[in-house]
């Protein structure tokens, strides 16, 4: 008889886990997925495309209902799990329903961080996390609308570009002196800056938000230097926090996220965690690729197959069409590294490779990212470059051409 497997969270990690289980352990578990959002699992990455009007909402759905049914999955969505009873091995929902499990997988994702500043609760201040946020933005968007996006990271830039595509007049404000400072060096960031400004987005760097102002609804963002940015809508995208609330309450080991080992197992052997809620070897990931890798590893583990997750060398692809940006590994170049740089302002391209001990350690690609997977593979494999080094910067086709 198949053992009950409950998944809390109905996001991309959960969907991929179910898919992977279908591949490696079909019928071994009776799977039940609990999701707080009242819809089928969807591709969160595509929200910026929806916002930009490039994609209908329906196209974000990861799998149709028929697929879930075919997988034999019980879907419980629009209902929030409120507790885990590890003693009796069941998940308790808001309405008191108890769902027994033999194995429990936490795929609770993360929550947007809200700035602890005055006015953040005013109507018109939204985050950029789910369909409701996108709905709110689209409702307000248009040429007559002024938007301020707070946060010049990946998500903030995608929100700003999405809004700009609707004709909304967008100002992107960022606390740091360059955009995507966790993924880009100054030169790449400045190219990105120029690309955003070419789309009509006003970018303010070193802009410290003091407050959101308004009588009853958003009217302006005030900066610490006193500047006021009048606006009709504010999007905050200043980061995410792993959602470990349930786990913490259940007494599982947590740090920033839910601590898991290389088998994605928490401090309770019956409970696993994957995706943005998990913390593996001290790292909480905020991207989809590690979540998918974790889902695949966990599926194999649950199927009794040998599998271990050893972490993911992070690679970032900015999903803004026409602004290809890629970053991976040690892109800044710590002490003891060597850098190779290629720039062509005429093609708006910039490429930087960081080498350590004769192997590729990091890369930034701006304007032209076709070689990203090749570089990423070289970074992840750590294989010695040898004579490839002098051709490396020119990309796979030219480097490997006879």
């Amino acid at each position: 008889m198949s053992e009950p497997l409950v998944v809390i969270g109905n996001g991309m990690a959960a969907a991929r886990l179910v898919e992977e289980l279908g591949q490696v352990a079909l019928g071994r578990h009776s799977v039940l997925v609990v999701g707080a959002e009242p819809r089928l699992a969807y591709n969160r990455v595509l929200l910026s495309s929806v916002l930009a009007g490039e994609l209908p909402v329906a196209d974000t759905e990861l799998k149709p209902l028929t697929w879930w049914k075919a997988q034999g999955v019980t879907l419980v969505y629009g209902r929030r799990a409120s507790a885990i009873d590890r003693e009796s091995r069941c998940v308790v929902l808001e309405d008191g329903t108890q769902l027994p499990y033999a194995r429990l997988v936490l795929a609770t994702g993360s929550d947007p961080i809200r700035l602890p500043k005055p006015g953040m609760d005013l109507p018109g201040v939204v985050t950029f996390r789910d369909h409701d946020d996108v709905g709110a933005m689209l409702a307000a968007a248009g040429p007559a609308t002024r938007a301020v996006v707070i946060g010049g990271g990946l998500l903030g830039i995608e929100a700003a570009c999405g809004l700009a595509a609707t004709g909304t007049r967008v100002t992107l404000i960022h606390l740091m002196d360059r955009l995507m400072e966790r993924q880009l060096d100054a030169e790449a960031a400045s190219l990105l800056n120029a690309a955003l400004e070419a789309r009509g987005i006003t970018v303010l760097l070193g802009a410290d938000t003091a407050a959101v102002e308004g009588e009853g609804c958003v009217e302006a963002v005030r900066l610490a230097d006193g500047r006021d940015l009048p606006c009709d809508i504010v999007v905050t995208a200043v980061g995410i926090r792993p959602n470990a609330t349930l786990a913490r309450a259940a007494g599982l080991a947590t740090a920033r996220g839910i601590v898991v080992d290389d088998h994605l197992t928490t401090s309770d052997p019956a409970i696993h965690a994957i995706g943005e809620c998990a913390e593996h070897r001290g790292t909480c990931y905020g991207l989809v690729e590690p979540a998918y890798q974790q889902a695949a590893i966990l599926a194999r583990h649950l199927a009794g197959m040998p599998a271990a997750y050893e972490g993911t060398v992070l690679a970032t692809n900015l999903k803004v069409s026409g602004v290809p940006v890629f970053s991976a590994g040690d892109f800044l170049g710590a002490a003891g590294t060597e850098s190779i740089v290629w720039r062509d302002p005429g093609l708006a391209t910039y490429r930087k490779l960081v080498l350590r001990d004769g192997a590729l350690a990091g890369a930034i690609l701006c304007g032209e990212t076709a070689d990203a997977p090749w570089y990423l593979d070289l970074i992840r494999s750590g294989r010695p470059l040898g004579p490839l080094r002098d051709r490396l910067i020119f990309g796979q086709a030219l480097a490997e051409a006879a």
Binding site: L62, V288, I340, W342, L355, R389, I393
Partner: protein, 894 residues
């Protein structure tokens, strides 16, 4: 440039390079572009051309041309002046020098590039009117030893044979001649003979040259030992009964003495082999072949001539042909291959200090005859100074006014640094030139006279087989450029000799020259073209290639000489000569343990004034180099591609090392082509000693002792730019012609500031694309104005390997993005798969791959993902893939 309406098009003319004298047909296109093809009607080449001739069209642009007379101002700068001002200044300067030091205080140094008509006027002016025979020419460096050898043996400077002999010979012996590179069309005729008729080709040369590659026998001889080899041959022929006793008895003198000396030098094959460094078997094979092959031609060139014993080397060869009577009959004879298009024409007019005019010398009778013909007021009464001595006299202050025409002695003379310094001390240095700048111009020329170049000038040239060919103009005279004969005649008029220099066109000069050749000749002189003295202007314009002698208008006799004797000595007999024991002018010593040989490359010619403009020719061997045997190189610590410093008693150069197993141990070879104009430190002439032949005055340019030392370099690199390439102090740079601009290859003794170099090269208003790998010392940059590539700089490892590929991209007017991205890699984007626009950013899957997957049957997004990985990570592209699937229609069911 506007094209002169009245010039015919296309035009049959002669190639301006080597002495083969090929006919070419030049056409000028609507946009002024010049194309050149071989002239099928010309007997020298029958339509064939070598790579240098084929690319003449790449060399006729006006970049760097001297277009107006110029004079040096008091501050030292050059200033444009009128022709009147310049010509008056030349005449004044010469008059002043004559007044202060006599006629011998003046001199002309001419060129085998000049046309016969130019040469004639120069020779007449100096030897008949100024009154000095200080008229010498760069032919002194080329074939003066042949002239002296001919005159000593034949009583005249006569090349006895014709090119047809090369087709009809059964044995072709090349001595000191790399004809495959230096006379390619004749070489092709010889190889065709080898293939079709089985003629044997023997190459005698200290180097294993390109000619050696196709030879039946290669004798890699010790430098300076040619006289030993041919002495040994004479002995062998005598001892094996192979002499033509009847011919010797009827037509020659001196065999006995020559043979006695030959026996002293090379009494046996064993001694010959030992003294020449050859295997006895090889020597015996050559001797046996020669003895058994009546139809034998011995061709010789600079390896024989450029020697302090060049005349004796020529004599040693002539001795063997005279003693066997193998001369002047089909398929046999000695054959001097000349290096220049009109060295022969220069010899005909007497454009050498030791000739008077029309193959006459300085006998009292000859002087009187020429005086009467010219109506000359002030005949030169004795030989003038030959090139080496002429520049010594310049250095010593004995010559105060020198006029150089169409040649670059500050680069090409032996001890060229010494010569360059000497030029700066002249009261008057006049240079007639095509170019604004070269080593001689820059040696302090006071007056620059813009002379017509090939394609513009009009007259005749004579090739190695005595064939006169019209060199016709097909381009208008640009700027204020004038033909050399006109410039000379104008100076003659200003010196007060208006009547004698009153020609209005080259036809009139040619008629006078032809008339002088026939004047009181009556068969006493070999050079006689009296049959052409009455050509009308129209006849001259239409003159077909014609071989002399042309004693009458209908002279149709066989053009060979001496088959039945008839030498131009007093008694009509040829002279066999007892040569001096062969020895080099100097030997190596421990401080300078190598012998430096100098010579030519396949695709360059002389000092590159013309060939240096052709991108096609720049590809074969773009940099000045020194070839050395790999074992010698290893012992000297010189890797292939290193830079070596060459040190002789006379100068230094720094050249790229090329390992060449064709070099003999202890000998190195450096091409002569580069000058201070084209490279930083590659003036090979500056290395060469000035020891010269006692008869011909030709210097020993192929055996100077030299030391080699490795020059440490930090990096290699190159620059490409539109317009003039910058000269960069501190770099060992070499200019290279490239399509669409100029190139500079360089080696850098110290680290090079690449970013500064591209800024300096590209100029303002450009966008610079660059790659830097500081840890590897790599810097590469390309400057663009829009999508037009303006300049490229490569520094560091890989630059050399990228040179050709980048040059090809540089030749394009604009670059597409793919080529632009490939540019700095040094690799071509051609043939690389075009991935198409990116569909899946996560896995960089392009449209091409997605379409291919759909075409191969992928029916839905997941199937495409399974094949290509597209859409399997973030999924952003899945809807795009879906659209592609829909557009493609129903895929073929699996």
């Amino acid at each position: 440039m506007a094209i002169h309406g009245s010039l015919p098009n296309p035009v049959a003319t002669a190639c301006p390079y080597c002495g083969v004298g090929c006919g070419v047909v030049a056409s000028v296109g609507a946009a002024g572009q010049v194309t050149v093809a071989g002239d099928p009607a010309h007997p020298a080449n029958r339509g064939r051309l070598c790579v240098k001739g084929s690319t003449l069209g790449e060399t006729v642009d006006l970049e760097g041309r001297l277009l107006h007379p110029m004079m040096r101002t008091r501050t030292g700068s050059m200033q444009r002046v009128s022709w009147d001002t310049a010509l008056d200044a030349v005449a004044d300067g010469f008059q002043r020098a004559i007044r202060d030091g006599g006629p011998d205080a003046t001199a002309l140094y001419l060129s085998g590039q000049l046309l016969t008509e130019d040469y004639y006027v120069a020779n007449k002016l100096m030897k008949g009117f100024v009154g000095t025979a200080n008229v010498d020419t760069n032919s002194r460096l080329c074939m003066a030893s042949s002239v002296a050898g001919h005159r000593r043996a034949f009583g005249s400077d006569t090349v006895p044979g014709t090119y047809e002999d090369l087709d009809e010979a059964d044995l072709l012996i090349l001595v000191g001649s790399n004809a495959a590179w230096c006379h390619p069309i004749l070489w092709q005729r010889m190889v065709a003979n080898q293939k079709a008729r089985g003629a044997r080709i023997v190459v005698v040369d200290p180097r294993r040259t390109a000619s050696a590659a196709e030879a039946d026998l290669v004798l890699q001889i010790r430098p300076g030992a040619d006289g030993v080899l041919f002495s040994g041959l004479l002995v062998f022929l005598a001892d094996t009964g192979a002499l033509d006793d009847a011919y010797v008895a009827a037509h020659t003198e001196g065999l006995d003495a020559a043979l006695v000396r030959a026996r002293e030098i090379a009494p046996s094959i064993a001694v010959t082999a030992a003294a020449t460094g050859l295997a006895a078997d090889d020597v015996e094979r050559l001797f046996g072949w020669f003895a058994a092959t009546p139809r034998a031609v011995t061709l010789y060139s600079q390896g024989v001539n450029q020697s302090a014993q060049g005349t004796d080397k020529v004599s040693a060869i002539l001795n063997c042909h005279l003693a066997t009577g193998r001369i002047g009959r089909p398929g046999m004879g000695p054959f001097s291959l000349t290096g220049q298009p009109n060295a022969m024409g220069g010899r005909e007019v007497g454009g050498l200090a030791n000739m008077l005019a029309a193959h006459m010398g300085f006998s009292a009778g000859d002087i009187d005859r020429v005086r009467r013909f010219w109506g000359a007021p002030r005949m030169a009464e004795r030989e003038g100074l030959k090139a080496v001595q002429m520049f010594e006299a310049v250095a010593a202050g004995a010559i105060r006014a020198l006029w150089v025409m169409g040649t670059n002695p500050a680069a090409s003379m032996p001890r060229a640094d010494h010569v360059r310094r000497a030029l700066t001390g002249l009261d008057l240095l006049v240079v007639s030139e095509n170019v604004l700048s070269n080593d001689t111009v820059n040696a302090g020329a006071h007056i620059l006279l813009p002379a017509a170049a090939w394609g513009e000038k009009d007259g005749t040239v004579t090739n190695s087989e005595r064939r006169i060919t019209r060199q016709r103009s097909f381009l208008p005279l640009p700027g204020e450029v004038r033909p050399d004969w006109w410039i000379l005649a104008e100076v003659g008029r200003r010196l007060g000799f208006g009547e004698a220099f009153s020609w209005t066109d080259p036809a009139a000069i040619f008629r006078e020259h032809a008339a002088l050749s026939g004047f009181e000749n009556r068969g006493t002189r070999d050079f006689d073209i009296a049959g052409l003295a009455a050509l009308s202007d129209a006849d001259y314009a239409a003159l077909q290639p014609v071989q002399w002698p042309v004693r009458t208008r209908s002279d149709r006799r066989d053009k060979r000489f001496f088959g039945s004797g008839g030498f131009f000595t007093a008694d009509g007999r040829a002279r066999l000569v007892a040569i001096a024991p062969p020895a080099l002018a100097e030997a190596t010593d421990p401080a300078r343990p190598f012998l430096l040989n100098t010579g030519r490359l396949r695709d360059q010619w002389h000092t590159m004034t013309r060939t240096g403009k052709a991108p096609t020719l720049g590809r074969h061997s773009p940099e000045p180099c020194v070839a050395i045997h790999p074992a010698d190189a290893e012992a000297a610590g010189l890797a292939d591609g290193d830079i070596a410093r060459l040190d002789t008693a006379h100068g230094t150069a720094r050249l790229r090392v090329v390992h060449d197993a064709g070099q003999a141990r202890g000998e190195v070879f450096a091409p002569i082509h580069w000058t201070g104009e084209t490279s930083a430190e590659a003036r090979v002439g500056a290395l060469v000693q000035a020891a010269n032949d006692p008869f011909s005055g030709q210097p020993e340019m192929k055996a100077t002792r030299v030391a080699l030392a490795r020059v440490p370099t930090a990096t290699d690199g190159f620059v490409l730019c539109r317009g003039e390439a910058p000269r960069i102090d501190g770099l060992l740079w070499t200019k290279v012609a490239v399509g669409g601009g100029a190139g500079l290859l360089f080696a850098a003794p110290e680290a090079t500031d690449g970013p500064a170099l591209i800024r300096r090269t590209a100029g303002p208003g450009t966008t610079v694309a660059e790659v830097g790998d500081p840890a590897r010392g790599i810097y590469r940059a390309a400057a663009f104005r829009g999508d037009r590539l303006e300049a490229v700089v490569f520094v560091g490892p890989g630059a050399r390997a990228a040179w050709n590929g980048v040059q090809a991209l540089f030749g394009r007017p604009v670059l597409d993005a793919a080529s632009r991205r490939a540019l700095l890699s040094g690799r071509s984007a051609e043939g690389l798969p075009d991935p198409g626009p990116t569909v899946c950013a996560c896995f960089s899957v392009g449209l091409t791959a997605v379409a291919a997957a759909i075409g191969a049957g992928a029916a839905d997004v997941n199937a495409v993902g399974r094949t290509t990985k597209a859409g399997t990570n973030c999924g952003s592209c899945r809807s795009e893939i879906r659209k592609l699937l829909a557009r493609t229609g129903s895929p073929v069911p699996a």
